[in-house]
Amino acid sequence: MESPGLITIRRDVTDAPLGPVNTLWRDAFRRLLRHRLAMFGALVLLVVAVMGIFGPAITPYDPNGMDFADRFANPSLEHWMGTDDFGRDIFSRVVVGARVSLQVGFIAVSVATIVGTGLGLIAGYSTRLTDEVIMRAMDVLYAFPAILLAIAIMAALGKGIGNAMIAIGIVYIPIFARIARGAVLGIRNEEFIIAARAMGAGDIRILLTHVLPNVLSPIIVEITLSLAFAILAEAALSFFGLGTQPPDPSWGRMLSEGRAFFRQSGWMGVFPGLAIFFTVMGFNFLGDGLRDALDPKLRR
């Protein structure tokens, strides 16, 4: 029998996992799982990811293999999406094209996220002068229509998929900078930041360990939505002949190559476009779902 007044520490309680710590993210995840459109988007993206990862291994034909006896074939059991002007199987090319779209999307958005978020954190956390300089520079980049700036950057750097990633990445830097800065301004005077500073934490430590985790939700949402835009931008650049170079298939390039032959085969213009559409829609649905899940207050 324990004497009253003596504080006893129950081992089973202290050894238990710290429940409440992760519930914010766990709740958000649960809300996301219940979001039908987001789950539909995730399912679509899963299919696209399988196409991108396994690409050439799962296609029924060699995506670059030509068959001049079978040009402009309509969709059939043999060629599910028909064939193009070189007799190449459109389905195989659409499957392999997923890899380019995802690669460009992820790398471009990574560039934008790292640089943009970094600049936004610095702008929101540092002196007014630094903030002004960074954010006015972002205003300038933001003043250019996205595709036009990407085209101009590619004109300077040269055609090719690597430069497309850089160009698209640069274009989206201001979006991440604005979001990160806004989020920092919202919390920079919160007590936990002041406490960390009082305890002697340096600026970089505060930014990385206290500020960054607290601005992650809007950034995660923006990453998902930017992936949608980056895939659209890659497709547009490849459509203009600036991104992927022949004979490698990319969805934008396939549409561009098909343009001259729409009278012979309208199908050449349909399936690559549908692939872009569903992938972009997948990211948009997932992004909206994430927004609703991470910040239920914003839900409309």
Binding site: F144, L148, A155, A235, L242, L255, F278
Partner: protein, 315 residues
């Protein structure tokens, strides 16, 4: 009236325009290697490369090059096209009109679609119409505009032969023909912007419909029509105007693509051709004019916002 806001907004626009000139100037500076060699190709003689370097002023110090270029650009002199030797400014002038016409018609088409859908779905949140509107706006933002343009050409030009697939007729020459040519490209760009605006208009309307003054208006016994049109919509308009302003940059981005797909003789197509031909002065001119046009439209919208809502102050 707070004229400090207007002054600060004008100053900010000036800073942005200066920044734009710097970014545009940098286009040629970041060309890997010697821009003159890149422009003329690997087989050009050393003399002609040296001649072009001299003509473009590439041998001079960086800031001297920028200031010279800037002072000329400020006077409307963007140099000569490397391809045909014509004044870049003259070529740009001919393209501003068609681009502006396309942008405005697209904007109007976008708003005509977005307003009724946005308002109705805000009035009946969660209804079948609201869900349809959400799906519509998701489809709109996910459709690549160049693909939509292609599909419209396949359907309306190649199959139904109702509208021309490409080209342009000045409105002063033949208004009917101008309209026939502008419908498909403007609808393509307008559809995408409508899908984004629908969401914003719905959101802005939902905000005001929950406001106290709207509840009061309803409590007074006003008809729903009066409540929506006179009390809610009028106040929602302030936010909607801002959003339309923010959309202008995206709209122009869409127009660049649409111009290429429909061979519309605007600034976007000119920039695209300049990239193909490595005609950097022409590209710089086109990019700069578009960016400045967008900045000015944004400035105009911001000032309009100020007029609509005198409470706004520069933060």
């Amino acid at each position: 009236m707070n004229y400090q806001y207007v002054a600060q907004r004008l100053l900010l626009a000036l800073v942005v325009v200066l920044g734009i000139t710097f970014v545009v100037f940098m286009i040629m500076q970041i060309v890997p290697g010697d821009p003159a060699r890149v422009i003329l190709g690997p087989y050009a003689s050393a003399e002609s490369v040296a001649g072009l370097r001299d003509r473009l002023g590439l041998d001079r110090p960086f800031f001297e090059q920028y200031l010279t270029w800037l002072s000329k650009a400020a006077r409307g002199d963007f140099g000569q096209s490397l391809l045909n030797g014509q004044d870049v400014s003259a070529q740009l002038l001919g393209r501003i009109g068609p681009s502006f016409e396309l942008a405005m018609v697209s904007l109007v088409i976008g708003l005509v679609i977005a307003f009724p859908i946005g308002i109705i779905s805000a009035l009946k949140p969660g209804s079948a119409i609201d869900i349809m509107a959400t799906i519509f706006s998701q489809i709109g933002v996910s459709v690549p505009s160049f693909w939509m343009g292609i599909l419209l050409i396949i359907i309306f030009s190649l199959n139904l032969e109702l509208l021309p697939p490409s080209g342009y007729t000045p409105i002063g020459e033949d208004a009917g023909d101008w309209l026939a040519h502008i419908i498909l490209p403007a609808f393509t760009a307008g559809f995408v912007s409508a899908s984004i605006q629908t969401r914003f208009i719905r959101s802005a309307m939902l905000d005001v419909l929950n406001a106290n003054y709207v509840q009061t208006a309803r409590a007074k016994g006003l008809t729903e029509r009066t409540v929506v049109m006179r009390h809610a919509l009028r106040n929602a308009l302030i936010n909607i105007v801002t959003i339309i302003g923010l959309q202008i940059t995206a709209l122009f981005s869409g127009i660049v693509i649409v111009e290429v797909v429909f061979s519309w003789p605007g600034l976007g197509r000119l920039a695209f051709n300049a990239v193909e031909e490595r005609d950097y002065p022409l590209l710089q001119g086109a990019v700069m004019v578009v960016a400045i046009m967008v900045t000015l439209v944004n400035l105009f919208v911001d000032l309009l916002y100020f007029l609509l809502d005198p409470r706004i102050e520069y933060a």
